[in-house]
Symmetry: C2
Subunit: 559 residues, 2 copies
């Protein structure tokens, strides 16, 4: 297998992805359904068997240099230890290998890099079911969500970054004979333009979305010529290790140094992130995770003039002013609050409802009490649905998130809906809880403007729509947000909200009452991460997300 063959093989995939980035219509290179008809009748069973076979064994498939040490502390939120170990290399070793590997990698043409990366994604996609089980049992996501979030949805985000990086690098010629007219003669210079990657790119993953939140930075760094070191969260290594292993095998097959991309596993007791970030050869840092450590990452990177992309966390808000159909609207909100038990950076937390109530299309006005009751009912309906409920809610990744439910209850606020343990069939020890919804008024900004990561939300009664909008824009500016959602049937209010929220620095959705939820963003179409508020500066995948990882250096030769 040659690189030229891969360029030929993946040309159309990349061309279609580039077109999708431009048109932003629906595009999915990998179908999202975990279906045997699509992925093969045995794919599920094979994937589960691979998962079972990997448990309690050293991780198989990485080709990177042998390590003296291993780590491994993953435990399924569904109640068992994974027992998988990973190589744990020291920072200097990782960086030295990355530096050596980068020399050949940076000298490839952008379309060569893009094609090798696409090949690796195609190979890893054959393991979507194993990735799904690996994700379910590290993050706690229900299986279908785990399959989608770490499989097709994540891989589409990776392909999006590869395609955008390729498009950007090819947005101007790589060679030109420049001829300047000088009256009676002209002077000519042969010019070429070289992509100069900024340096080693470290990608720090999170425990809840170990693939989805890692691959955009990882593949953006790689396609632009940087060697990448992926440091996953110690609790969620397995899913991304599969992707790295397939990439290393692909690199090896085309005769490249596998250390173009390495896994840097660490442990909670001996974390490696700060040492990696602060190594002078590391010039780009991607980070997804909590805001406290995220602020440290940003500070260290900024001090050293490094490029840094972060996705921390914000406080996502909903305003309910008026609705076409209250049940459909609150079904949508109920699902958004329940999906993966609120453990998404995009999940709503605060639901602002004007004291005067919510007008509906049939001319009624629902009071705040009625809205709270309806939301409770719609969550109950979802949670109580034996087929859909447990899989939608999944399990709680971190015990601290479960403990936060008690902390929220102890606030003493009115309870609109009480949280309760959820039975996860087949997993008697799963850490699973349904959403808690509390009620408060706008005076308790000290409470609801904090991030309550997990299945905790607040219905906040406001004086008016304008009051709600002011609270939301203030919150976006001070605490950040990944998403906002407004329900209003009044076009003037919609325009007002759109301008105010965009100016504050967050994206905005309106009147979602169907099978699209505010906490989901679609690759090739939605920019994920505002980039413009305290929730982080990354946006999957805008141009800066790829272009800030390299420079262009000119070579001029007298012709």
């Amino acid at each position: 297998m040659s690189i030229a063959e891969l360029v030929e093989r993946h040309h159309t995939t990349l061309e279609d992805a580039i077109a999708a980035n431009r048109t932003r219509t629906f595009h999915a290179h990998w179908p999202e359904a975990p279906s045997g008809k699509i992925y093969g009748e045995n794919a599920n069973a094979d994937g589960e068997a691979a998962f079972r076979g990997q448990l309690n064994n050293p991780f198989r498939g990485l080709l990177q240099g042998a390590s003296n040490a291993t780590v491994g502390e993953e435990a399924s939120p569904y109640g068992f230890a994974l027992g998988i170990t990973y190589p744990s290399d020291n920072v200097d070793m990782l960086v030295n290998r990355a530096s050596a590997a980068q020399t050949a990698w940076r000298s490839l043409a952008p379309d060569e890099r893009a094609s090798i990366l696409t090949e690796a994604l195609e190979r890893a996609s054959k393991r979507f079911f194993e990735i799904g089980y690996a994700t379910q049992h590290t993050t706690g996501q229900g299986f279908v969500m785990a399959f989608q979030a770490s499989g097709p949805h994540a891989f589409d985000r990776a392909l999006e970054a590869v395609a955008l990086g390729l498009d950007a690098q090819e947005s101007f010629t790589s060679n030109v004979l420049w001829a300047k007219p000088m009256g009676k003669f002209e002077v000519s210079i042969e010019k070429s333009y070289r992509i100069a990657p900024k340096g080693i790119n470290v990608v720090i993953g999170c425990s809840t979305f170990p693939v989805w939140n890692t691959v955009p930075g990882m593949f953006a760094g790689l396609v632009t010529g940087n060697a990448v070191i992926v440091k996953p969260h110690p609790g969620s290594v397995y899913p991304i290790a599969i992707v790295i292993a397939e990439l290393q095998q692909t690199l090896s097959d085309v005769g490249l140094d596998v250390h173009v991309c390495q896994l840097a596993a660490d442990s909670v007791a001996e974390p490696r992130a700060l040492d990696l970030i602060q190594h002078p050869a590391v010039r780009i840092v991607d980070y997804t995770g909590g805001p406290a450590f995220g602020a440290v990452v940003e500070q260290k990177a900024h001090e050293a003039g490094k490029t840094v992309f972060t996705e921390k966390a914000g406080v996502n808000c909903i305003i309910i002013d008026s609705v076409q159909d209250a049940t459909k609207a609150l079904d949508n909100v109920a699902f958004a609050l329940s999906l993966y038990a609120g453990q998404m950076c995009t999940a709503p937390q605060n639901i602002f409802v004007p004291r005067s109530g919510v007008r509906t299309a049939d001319g009624r006005t629902l009071s705040v009490d009625e809205i709270a009751g309806l939301l409770r009912d719609r969550i109950d309906a979802l949670v109580g649905n034996e087929k859909a409920g447990p899989g939608t809610i999944g399990a709680i990744q971190n015990p601290a998130t479960a403990a936060r439910l008690d902390e929220a209850l102890a606030l003493g606020l009115d309870v609109a809906r009480a949280s309760a343990p959820i039975t996860q069939p087949g997993f008697d020890n799963a850490r699973s809880f349904s959403p808690l919804v509390l009620r408060t008024d706008a005076s308790r900004r000290d409470i609801f403007e904090r991030e309550w990561f997990g299945p905790i939300s607040f219905i906040v009664e406001t004086d008016s729509f304008d009051h709600a909008l002011t609270l939301v824009t203030d919150s976006v500016r001070q605490h950040g947000a990944l998403t906002t959602l407004v329900y209003t049937t009044d076009p003037a209010k919609a325009d007002l909200a759109e301008d105010a929220i965009i100016t504050a620095g967050a994206p905005v959705a309106f009147n979602f009452d169907s099978f699209v939820w505010v906490n989901q963003s679609a690759a090739f179409s939605d920019f994920h991460g505002a980039g413009n508020n305290p929730a982080g500066n990354a946006s999957f995948a805008d141009l800066t997300f790829v272009t800030a990882r390299y420079n262009v250096l000119g070579v001029r030769k007298q012709a």
Copy 2:
């Protein structure tokens, strides 16, 4: 005049500029010759009369809000004070006006902003001769260079940034109906994408290139929806004030707030740069100037997570290994050293010559002594040319630069060519000096690896070509460089040098021996500023230079 008319009027200009950015062929929207045939037979006389009329008067034409205070301390390096005063607003006033003006500006479509900016450039281009005189008598550049550098060359850089910014913002659709197939039905969302400028953009200019180095950041900031505050060097305000005045008049004519772009003049005694940079509403900073203050600017911006683009200074190197024609090669080097007396951030400083000498195409080998002698002769020929010499060298902007000549002489190194005062016809008190060339060996890195801004260069004898290349790449990594130039007729050495210098992080030129000089970079074709070494992180104009100034925020509506 409506904005729609301007979009129509400048459509082709912008389309051609976008195409030029992609093809990187020779493109000049404004001809570089200061010729009456091009710009009108009276243009020179009118421009000089406008310049004379402006001297010793308050600056005319700005429309920004009245100031309580004025400043003005410009003095021509040709020996007279300009006596022009400018409004000097306090930082809060400037920022408040900019914030108010930005609301309407950000809501325009990118092509509307681009067209308004192009109109302003076209209007200001009618004053190229006045800008030329204003530049000559603030920077010390000879008139022809001043005309070109602040006129057509600078305006092409501005148009390049406008076109690239427009192209980037239009690289994806602004509206789409997204329809996701869901088996038997599909779900649709109306999506739009809004450009969200990061915030107020402050552009800090330098004394030597008050237009050329200011307009890229200024127009990149503006086209991406930011309000811009330009803080010129107190010694070089007049040329850029003309551009700002024409832009403000254009904004006013289309009914926009003129404070979209403001002049923030200050004085050496009461500098405003740090206060501007540190204002919380300022989110983007462009800086051109000395490395000491540049480092402070970068630190303050990084600490606050602001976008910052810098062009500081480096140590630019030449290697002479072998040449086709020694006289032509050293003519080229002589001109590069003499042009504006080395006061260009791109001017060469260190000329490395292997001890074994320089082979020529006719089979001879010139010793280091012979190379030094030939360089002296070619500088003498240029300097002694009464027609070309004084205008090429111009005058020294800053007395400290002239004093540096004495400091260099006091090093006690061998003098390859002595500097001498230059008579500038018509200006008996001009501060003008020809190039000083010193000789040293490679052991004196403490001397030659410092930046010696001004007409000071060093011929450095090295052990070999490889030794020279190592010195150059080390210097690029440690001290930065805007340019490098290698003379070699050996293709293997050229390849080696190209890879080594590109990897070190600087652009490279080869064998310049014609009418292109290493210290000139062409808009639409050459990326100016490596962006990847200690000389600064800006590159005129790569994608990041425009895209890092805004974010994209999505609006999603249930369809």
